[in-house]
Symmetry: C2
Subunit: 251 residues, 2 copies
DNA sequence: CGCCAATTCCCGTTGAACGGGAATCAATCT
DNA sequence: AGATTGATTCCCGTTCAACGGGAATTGGCG
């Protein structure tokens, strides 16, 4: 028999299992995983056992499952994300210290904004993004910057799909969004008041490497705060990071 | 046929493939991977293709392979490491700002010290550790702290195995190491001058959760610097992190 | 004890994975 | 231009590891 369910490979199935874990669901029983991944119970148990043996999953004291440290370790190695994060971190710290607000780094992944890093500030306004969290491209300042500089085909795809509102200020009209993206390209930054939460405004600038935009650097400000100082700090940091990336290439 | 090589499962084989990537080897051809993982060429290509389809590996412009962002994303979710890192990061930043030296966070994984986080300071002395890097337990201040508080069986295993010198000051004598570990338990910190590089001294303190040591927090100082200020800063940070972990449990 | 869910064990079936080998493509050298 | 080396793709017969249904077992919990 072997894999009668559908024409998918083992790796895909493993990813499905890993995807049953989430920011909100970090430990589960084998049966839960099986149910969520759509696997027969006995199959789920066998597969989970194998993943534990391989170090991809770990069992805690109660024999419940969580993602293994080994997976994290493997993922860190050599990922492009890591290099970018390493180059960006010191500059992000400076921005965070200066602004006293959350500072974030995001990249485009599978038509969404994926947050690579987030330095939170205890006194700053609330903000839902997390490391390894995702947001739709049209619903955050970082996403807007990424979308504005993305491949035109992707941009049209997003503009043509329904634009879900995340916060009260999310731009959900395709025509307005298209105009906004043009403006972001022209001015070199995005401001998204209330696009996620009513109380906050995101400000983001693009980060370039070899000419093309590879990430967005952003800060989360209180709704009514002036954006000029944040923008200056972010731009300065972006320039520093870009210089770092250029220098790193010269090794 | 199916997997004639040996009695290992698919997951183990996939991990072997992922392990061929390293900090120093982040992109490879499919054939390279196959050779290093001990797979026949055609098998390697098929497997790699599947991993790319699953998003675990990515192809760059030249069709060479690198670890995928999706893997990183999955790994971040829900790992214990992430929670610890998140709790520790702000305190580490404070230590780094105060000492102006590298600050690191390490845990015990498979009989080695695995570095979860590292804040580097541009003006500080060189230091070879990296995020997701590993060092033998006896060869770094962090490792010594972890070893001193590790399960006695593991400790004996390490003491009984050959102790490779990494730097000029690495303790390689089992008897001396045993005495040193006792002292670390007594004093509550480890100082390791030159254990990795001649020019630097590592200072590390344990990080406890529910009574047992789960990680080590360390700083890298110039060889002749006084360790007292660093020790004070590290201890203060450790206390703060431990309080944070306790508070997080109350949710 | 009775109930429910998780887990483990058993086992007959079978097709997906395997890998040897040859062909193709792409650089690089002579 | 022809030869060489290595990566990649394609083909295909073999086969056994994976599969999953089902039953038995464990373990809380009221």
């Amino acid at each position: 028999m072997a894999n009668s369910a559908s024409g998918e490979g083992v790796a895909e199935r493993i990813v499905r299992v890993l995807e049953t874990f989430g920011v909100d669901r970090t430990v589960q029983t084998a049966s839960e995983i099986g149910r969520r991944a759509g696997l027969p119970s006995s199959t789920a148990h066998r597969l989970v056992d194998e993943l534990v043996r391989a170090g991809i999953l770990e069992r805690d004291d109660e024999r419940r499952l969580r993602l293994g440290l080994r997976l994290w370790e493997l993922a860190q190695r050599g990922s492009t994300a890591l290099r970018l994060r390493q180059a960006a971190l010191p500059h992000m710290e400076r921005v965070q210290a200066e602004l006293r607000e959350h500072t974030q780094l995001a990249v485009l992944e599978r038509e969404e904004a994926l947050f690579l890093e987030r330095l939170s500030h205890p006194e700053a306004v609330s903000n839902i993004t997390r490391v390894a969290g995702r947001l739709p491209l049209h619903a955050s300042s970082s996403g807007l910057v990424l979308l504005a500089h993305a491949d035109p085909a992707l941009r049209e795809r997003v503009l043509g799909s329904p634009l879900r509102a995340v916060g009260p200020g999310t731009v959900t009209d395709a025509r307005a969004l298209r105009r906004l993206l043009g403006e972001i390209r022209r001015t070199g930054f995005a401001a998204a008041p209330g696009s996620i939460e009513a109380v906050s405004t995101g400000v983001a600038v693009p980060l370039r490497d070899r000419g093309s935009v590879i990430a967005a650097l952003s800060a989360v400000l209180p709704r009514d705060a002036p954006i000029a100082p944040a923008l200056r700090a972010l731009r300065e940091a972006a320039a520093g990071i870009e210089a770092g990336l250029r220098a790193a290439r010269e090794d």
